[in-house]
Symmetry: C2
Subunit: 368 residues, 2 copies
Amino acid sequence: MKIICQKSNLVKGVSIVSKAVPSKTTMPILECILIDASTDFIKLTANDMELGIETTIEGEIIDRGIIALNAKIFSEIVRKLPDNEVTIETDSSNQTLITCEKAKFNIAAQSGEDFSYLPNIEKEDYITISEFTLKEVIRQTIFSIADNDTNKMMTGELFEINDNILKVTSLDGHRVAIRKIELKESYSYKKVIVPGKTLQEISKIINGEAESNVDISFTKNHIVFEFDKTLVVSRLIEGDYFKIDQMISSDYETKVRINKRELLNCIDRATLLIKEGDKKPIIINIGDEVMELKIQSQIGSMNEDITIAKEGKDLLIGFNPRFMIDALRVIDDEEVDLYFMNAKAPCFIRDENQNYIYLILPVNFTAA
Amino acid sequence: MKIICQKSNLVKGVSIVSKAVPSKTTMPILECILIDASTDFIKLTANDMELGIETTIEGEIIDRGIIALNAKIFSEIVRKLPDNEVTIETDSSNQTLITCEKAKFNIAAQSGEDFSYLPNIEKEDYITISEFTLKEVIRQTIFSIADNDTNKMMTGELFEINDNILKVTSLDGHRVAIRKIELKESYSYKKVIVPGKTLQEISKIINGEAESNVDISFTKNHIVFEFDKTLVVSRLIEGDYFKIDQMISSDYETKVRINKRELLNCIDRATLLIKEGDKKPIIINIGDEVMELKIQSQIGSMNEDITIAKEGKDLLIGFNPRFMIDALRVIDDEEVDLYFMNAKAPCFIRDENQNYIYLILPVNFTAA
């Protein structure tokens, strides 16, 4: 194989596909990026068997062929080359010569034959969404997936398409995040659980421009994201997702309207009195026109009053401050509404149209 | 004690003195910042017994007094407060109330009486240097101090003042860095060894503006840096510094003039073939008009030619690439001169007036 590409194209392509290179693996071939120049295009691919990414880069193919190069070494080399044309040439023993201006690198590579190609998926059933919207909806929900594998389902997000509405749900046992997005067209009903890791990597790769689109197609076991010469194929998580509708209620005994920035800054300040691993709740005392926030730990205590507009009963309730912060950070509204039932029932932060719903379970505390 | 300061003044002062708070200590009082409002000024002080920093901040003293607050907690609290007036008030049991707008923090503090004050040093014998020059000269030499304590002297830098010349020297057994600075005035002869840590912290605190000055005064055991309401007092390292003049020679058999950027980028590229801890040298083959750089490791090999102007003999010599990179990075000249004697003698990188001299010892290698 012999190809010539601009350094900048190589750097961009390698950085995209590297997201699918596993950080730990016992199979050296999975640590590789495949350069496939066996057709008329130069394709880079990485695949950790759960998530696979393929991207096409511009360049000239002198001799057709394929080669698998260690992703870490290859990406470091291309990044440090002069900003000029790069020639990649392999011999029959997979020795690879990378040349740019007067710099010559010689590294051992692996045969491309050993590489696991991405599953070949027909693009039949797909929806279109802007990069901006996809990136936003991931950011607004991804923090409430569970990060350990004890319940596989909780490590993913539910993508549900109903007509022209995409509903994304994540939950970790202590909280739920729901976002609804209006799509430009209507589609047939779909319901899949997408691994959180896939969404995190997608979110890093896409630029997030409002004018660029992503086509998302679905098969029984896979989801495919296609955009800008790049294909991301991910396995889906199997199983029935949690019954979310049963958890969501619109009843309330107390409704609080509050300035989001003020509430967020106040809780943020309170957390510095909590050492990592310590589970001190923030205690919220809702009265007429004023909500008092209190926290007490070994380090000291803090309290602060925030002006609110209240409907309904007074309430004393405790929360994990981290969960409040996570939800408030991804809400763009200046004023938010908090809905409470009682000190043992979840708090809902939601807008009027329920385009976003953040459910947070309270924690027990001993009222001082 | 009761004082009122703007949050921004507190943040600035706390961030300056925090540089002298030790990260590990068995004495809780050393982890504290002392607020001394016992006179007409509000002074913040931290002191790890080697290095002490004191700075005066603007503010109003309502009740005179002193208090010692845990540096980490105090600095986190002030940083997260609203941008407004902050009141700090202590009671007789050292409980401290920090109030800003509606936020109230209550933390336990320690008696200021237990705090070790900075040594009181008369400012008699001092030199003046711009913040810019001091920051630059530290950056240009600090990388070649030794970072472990096996030879205490190597962890410091020699500051030598002779007439209107400040000469700064550092060495770690494999290399030497020397910078000469012309001062605006002449001073009596001085020679001290300043701990590297002190210089690193000073360099973080000063803004590095060319118009701001630092007064540096000397006593038998201490060096004092004074600038912008801040006083940094550090112990000196005792002993006689190495005889540098015996190591420096102006003789050479080979002189190479080379583009600095090209050489630096080339060596930087070469290092990516070396895993951390691996001691592979970069091999330099000096011929007429061309210098070839080669490196070979388990990962692969690299070689690159760079155009040079040469005087004298051809030479094949090996270096630790890290040492070359460190020296070249802090040289501002576009072209640099490299002087060699033979493959076992040090390489000198220096300008014509010897305002900078970087000496690097070669390493043995087996010529392939």
